[in-house]
Assembly symmetry: C2
Homo-oligomer: 320 residues x 2
């Protein structure tokens, strides 16, 4: 198929890697992606803390697109303070999950609007617009979906595994609780089906992308969309750029490499983007039946993100 | 009746004036009032802000007893910051009701625990204990009770009148919504009935004391308790020490003086405490059948509060 010069792009994203590529795409597309970019975001990491609904991946994507993300840390807001958390500790509450004072406003507003009956997708659109985000940011589902992690010491909630236990446990299996009954949020399936380009972010395939695909209808839409599809490997030189992707690939019996990731995405994407450090894997990835784009996938600042976004769009058609 | 040297004291209290006298009593009684002081607090000012339950009077009493109150302002915590509120504004939410970052922890914990099924009195006991408060702090009811204010432009919620419109409207009437169905919180009636001394704080008679008395059973308990009862006038020299008590007395047709206040409490207390500035009213107050204590009722720092507390206890029996 032919790709227009300003394609409609849909990105499947988790947290930091997804947010950075979303930012690059927003920079590469007209008007910050207002008409051209939809980011479908994982909600398996969502958690209730002190009665407030925290949606870490939605917030990271939203804050990064708004230019408000704490870049050094990868998540949360810049110039954050922690007076509320400090006082929570004084009140005897557990504080292993960090909640910044500014960040808290997001959770307070989200929780109040959900309680008033607004779906998460509507609340997210409101919050993103208030922060000046032009691109569409959509939770994959408005329904409750929670990633549960099987570890040698039992099944734990995602943030218990990820934050409290610092993803130190071997991951023996993952359950996306609620996924079977979850419905794609309004616009999600259309965003996949009607896109010119579908991008799978360099997010954790198991923790970030799988729970998106687990919502009934999404995997099929990705399989059957007429969009050109490209995935970016989160594994570079046999290591995860961030987070526990390498350990999880290994503990679940996959090869810890861009090739191992490519195998997971075979049948779902047309093009596999791997890092220059993994150029030697271009042949084996190509043998899977995938086109291969070899480039620098480490996104530093905005310029690097935009460059990668343009290369991805170029690999599937005319440059945006 | 005879008053023991360390009497059991129950204080009916609203916000700032109630909190300061509670502090004085806690200083005057053994062990911070742990076994001797119960403060029964107005909840008519409570409000839901951004989905969080704020209980201004409970918090002012609790923070003041804990030594954490912002003394210059009278409410809220010392050394407070407002990053969350600033971000709320950025998200397009209204911010006329000030919520400090540290203060927010109280509302977050309270809201979460209420949602989990704990009654307000249990949550309050937990919060007060966490802050090191020794005296008992009890909401007058665990049920929903909200003060509504009739103004020339219609009926508004209390905080709408008090904070948003800066209590500038004439008060034509007050409704304690929910009061008829409200039950006294556990321990409230006992605290009134079994006290040696019952003190009515120099709080607003209409906005702070009336909603406490409006909970079925409380007014009768005050009327019939065997405790010695003393009220402190919040009107000094024809003006309110703080807040709109003077305007409300006037708009509801009462004399704006300590005598006007004394008339409201006739039948409910034995002793009326008025300020030295109102010494000329001692005769007329006495003519109502009340004993009169004339003293300096302006509580500055802790020493002034403790002095007033000791004078009140002295006026009803042996010094504590």
């Amino acid at each position: 198929m032919s790709i227009p010069s300003a394609p409609r792009v849909t990105l499947l994203a988790g947290g930091v890697g997804g947010a950075r590529l979303a930012h690059g795409l927003a920079l590469a597309l007209p008007d910050g992606g207002a008409e051209h970019l939809r980011v479908v975001v994982n909600v398996g990491d969502d958690t209730e803390r002190h009665g407030l609904l925290v949606s870490p991946d939605l917030d990271t994507v939203m804050y990064t697109l708004a230019g408000l993300n704490d870049e050094a840390r990868g998540w949360g807001l810049q110039d954050e303070t922690y007076a509320m958390l400090d006082q929570l500790a004084r009140l005897g509450e557990d504080t292993w999950f960090t909640l910044g004072d500014r960040d808290l406003a997001t959770h307070v507003v989200r929780t109040a609007r959900l309680a008033a009956g607004e779906p998460l997708s509507v609340v997210t659109a409101h919050l993103a617009a208030a922060l000046g985000v032009r691109a569409g940011v959509v939770p994959v589902t408005d329904d409750r979906l929670r990633t549960l992690v099987d570890t040698p010491s039992g099944r734990v909630a995602f943030q218990e595994y990820f934050v409290r236990r610092r993803h130190a446990d071997a991951v023996l299996g993952l359950t996306f609780d609620g996924a079977e009954a979850a419905r794609p949020a309004p616009g999600v399936l259309d965003a996949v089906r009607a896109a010119d380009v579908l991008v799978v972010a360099p997010s954790n395939p198991f923790l970030s992308v799988d729970p998106v695909l687990a919502v009934p209808g999404v995997r099929d839409a990705v399989r059957t969309t007429s969009a050109r599809r490209v995935a970016v490997s989160p594994i570079v030189g046999g290591q995860a750029v961030k987070g526990p992707a390498a350990q999880i690939l290994e503990s679940l019996g996959h090869e810890v490499s861009a090739l191992g990731v490519a195998r997971l995405y075979t049948g779902l994407v047309d093009v596999m983007c791997i890092d220059e450090a993994d150029a030697h894997l271009a042949g084996p990835v190509g043998d899977l039946g995938l086109e291969v784009l070899v480039t620098d996938t480490i996104m530093g600042g905005p310029a690097g993100r935009e460059r990668l976004a343009r290369e991805l769009l170029g690999a599937v058609g005319p440059a945006a």
